[in-house]
C-alpha cells in the first residue's frame, strides 16, 4: 500500500470505512453468491465438461475389437516375428478416416503352429519396439528395453515396467488371422487397457 493513500477516517464521509458491514453485508454476499457466483459456477462447469474429452467414441463398438490383420500364408511358421499394421476406421473429431493404419503389432508363427501377437508399443514410454538384427530378441530404440523372443523382459532392471503386451489371436475363415487389438497404458507394471479412439 502506498503511503500517499489517505486513511479512510480522514475522508470524513460516513460510509467511508473499510469494515465489513454486518447484516446488510450478509445479504449482499448472499445476493452475490446467487447471481455472480451462480453464473461463474455454471460457466466453470460448462468449460470443464467441454474440455474433458468424452469417452466412448463412435467407433468403440462392443467389448472386443478383433480386427483382421493378415492371411495365414503371409506368416511362415519359422518362429521369426514379423510386423503388421492394424487397419481400421479412425475417428478424428469430426472426420472419419476409413481404413487407416491405427497401430502396429508383432506376429510370430512358431514351428509348433502357435501364433503369438504383441503390441509393438513399448510398455515403458510408448516407442515402437524393433526386432534386433540377429532376430533373436526385441529391442526398443528409445531406452534400450530388451525383450526375449517370447516377449518377456530380458533382465529385471529393464526400463520397461512389464513384459511386452500380448494380444489375443484367432484364426477365422480357415486362413485369416484376427487380433484383438487393444492399447494399453504405458509406464505402469499392470496391463490397463485404454479405450480405442
Amino acid at each position: 500500500m502506498t503511503s500517499s493513500q489517505p486513511q479512510p477516517s480522514d475522508s470524513g464521509a460516513q460510509d467511508g470505512g473499510f469494515e465489513p458491514v454486518s447484516r446488510r453485508g450478509f445479504l449482499h454476499v448472499l445476493a452475490l453468491l446467487t447471481t455472480l457466483g451462480g453464473f461463474l459456477g455454471s460457466l466453470l462447469v460448462a468449460c470443464l465438461r467441454a474440455l474433458l474429452p468424452s469417452t466412448g467414441s463412435p467407433s468403440s463398438s462392443g467389448s472386443t475389437s478383433y480386427l483382421k490383420v493378415t492371411q495365414l500364408d503371409k506368416l511362415p511358421a519359422d518362429g521369426i516375428p514379423r510386423s503388421f499394421q492394424i487397419i481400421a476406421d479412425h475417428w478424428d473429431a469430426w472426420n472419419r478416416h476409413a481404413n487407416q493404419p491405427i497401430g502396429m503389432i508383432w506376429l510370430c508363427h512358431r514351428p509348433d503352429g502357435e501364433i503369438l501377437a504383441w503390441s509393438r508399443t513399448c510398455p515403458h514410454a510408448g516407442c515402437l519396439i524393433q526386432l534386433a538384427r540377429s532376430q533373436d530378441h526385441f529391442q526398443c530404440p528409445c531406452h534400450n528395453s530388451r525383450f526375449e523372443i517370447d516377449g518377456s523382459r530380458s533382465h529385471e532392471n529393464s526400463p520397461s515396467p512389464r513384459d511386452m503386451d500380448r494380444l489375443e489371436v484367432e484364426i477365422r475363415y480357415q486362413d485369416q488371422i484376427w487380433v484383438n487389438f487393444i492399447r494399453f497404458k504405458s509406464g505402469i507394471s499392470e496391463q490397463e487397457s485404454m479405450l480405442r479412439s
Binding site: D15, F18, C47, A50, W91, N95, R96
Partner: protein, 591 residues
Amino acid sequence: MSSPQSSGRFSRFLEALETWIRKRLPMEMGWPHTLWFLLTFLFLVQASTGIILWMFYSPSTQTAWESVFYLQHKVPGGWLIRGIHYWSAECMVVIAALLVMLGVWFKVCSERVIRDHYLALCLAMITLALAMTGYLLPWDQHGYWSAKIRTHLMGLTPIIGSSLERLMLGGESMGHLTLTRFLAFHAGLLPVLFWIVLRLRSKSIASTSHSTLRGSHRPYWPRQAWSDTLYAGLLGWGILILAWQPWSDTLDVSLRGAPLSAPVDPSAPYPSARPEWYFLFLFQFLKYFPGNLEIVGAILIPSLILSWLVVLPWLGKGSVLWRTRRPILAALAGGIIWLSIEAIQEDRRNETYQLARSQAKTVSLRARELAMSMEGIPTGGALTLLQEDAKTQGPRLFAAHCASCHRFQGHDGLGNPLQDPPSASDLSGFGSRAWITGLLNPQQIQSPQYFGGTAFIEGEMTRFTQRKIGHFDQNQEAALRDVINILSAEAGLPSQQNLEGDQAQWRSLDRDELFYEIGCTECHPFHFEDDELQAPDLTGYGSREWLISFISEPESSRFYGEQNDRMPSYRTEDILTEKEIGLIVDWLRMQ
C-alpha cells in the same frame, strides 16, 4: 494501514485489489463506472469462453464450420459455451454503444471526461471489430455473406479502400487466409487492444481519485462496489438465459446456444443474407443510396458521425456543436431505432425474403443432419455433403433447369411461385399411382398440371384418354386401376414401398393381357421391343434409370423420338452432368 513489505506476487495483487476497492469516485461517476465494470466483466467472460472455443477451433475453409459444428453438437456443454460467448458479445456491443451515447448526453467538459470519452469511443470501435471478426469464424452462410458485404463496403473507402479490403481478406477473396487472419485479429490483436483501453481507464480513475479528493468524491466501497458486482451477476444470468433459451421448444439442446447456419457455399446465391441486428439500421439506410451513391451511405455519413463524436468534447462548452449535442444524439438514436424497425418490417412483408429464410433454415438443418451421420464429415468439408445431397441439390437444379417449363407442386422446386403458366407437366409424384391416375383422367390430362401447356394437348394420348377411358364401364375401370398399379410399380418409388410390398397380387394378373386390353401397348412398348411403336417405352417407367435416360435424351427413339416437344437433351447437349441429373431424379423420386 501498513501492509507487510512482502514482495510476493500475491501480496502485490492484494494491494492492487485494495487500491481498487479503496478508490474514491467523482460524484457523477455512478452509472459510467458500472458500465465500464460490466464491460470488464464481459471481457473476462469472453476471454475465458473464447479460449475454450479456440481449443476446438480449426481455421480453414474445410474445417472451420466442421470444428464449430463438432463443438456445438458433439462436445457436451459446447453449445452452452458458444451460447455464452455469442450472447456476451451482443451485450458488449449494446453496453459499449450505451457508454458512448450516455457519455455524450450527460457529460460536462473536463479533462478527465474527455479522456473517458475517447477511451469509450475506442472501446466501442474495438468491440465492433471483435463482433465483426468473430461473426465470420464459424464459416457458416450467415456470417460469410454479411462479412462479404461488409468488406465490399469497406472497399468503397476512397484511396485506401482496396488495400484495406485486401488487408482484411488476406487475398483477393475470402478463404483460408481470411480465417487465419480473422482469428488472429479476433483472438489476439483486438483483445490486447481492449485490455489496454481498460487499463488506461482504470489508471485514469486512480489518478483522479488521488489528485482531487474533494467533497464531490465518494468512496467506491461499499455501495458502488456492491451494485457493480450485482449488475454483473444479473447480466451473467441474462446471458445464461439467452444462451439456454428456455422458451425454445426444441428438445435437442445442441440446437440452442448460438446459431450455426449451413456451411459456406460461395457458388450459390444466398438471398437471406442480413447483417447482425445492430447493423440492420445501416443495411436499411443503404437502401436509400442506390448505385454510385452507396459510398455516401456506407462511408461518408458514418465517418461524419464518427468525426462528430471525435471532435465533440474538444470544442468546449460554448460551441454550437456542443450545445446541440442532445438534439443531434436524440435524432441519431431515433433514426437508428426507426431504421431498424423499418428493416424488420420490410423483411416481414417481403415474401421472397421470408421464403429464402425458410429455405436457408431447411439447408442448415439438412447440413446438420448429414454431418451427424455415422459416416462423419468427409475431409473435403461438410459442403461436399450438401453438394452430393439430392434433397438439397435436387430442388436447386430443378429450379435452375426444369422450372422454366415444369412445376413441382405448382412452384419451382424451391417453393418460389412463378409468374408464367407452366408449359409442361407438374413433376411432383411423377410415376406414383396418383400421378398416373391424374394423367389418365379425361378431365385432368389437358390441365396445365399434365399436358395442358405442351404440344401433346391435342395429341394421341389426350385423344385416347378422352375418347376411350372416358367411356369405360366398371369392369374396364377396375382393369385400368390394375394397369395403373402395375405401371406405377415399375418406378419402385420409396414412398410406395408399403403399397407394393405384396407383389403376389399382380402375379395372378396377366400383365400383357391387361395392357393390351386397355390399349396401352397399341402405342407404347412395355416389356417388349417394337420399333414400330412411336410412344415412349413404359418398361421401367419412372425408375431411376428410366428418368435419367429420359432427361439425358428425350429425343431418343426409346422415348419421344421425333415427337419430342421442346425438352432439351440435357446430357447429350451437355447441359447437365450425369451426376446432376441423378440428383434431380433422386430428389423427384424421394417425394
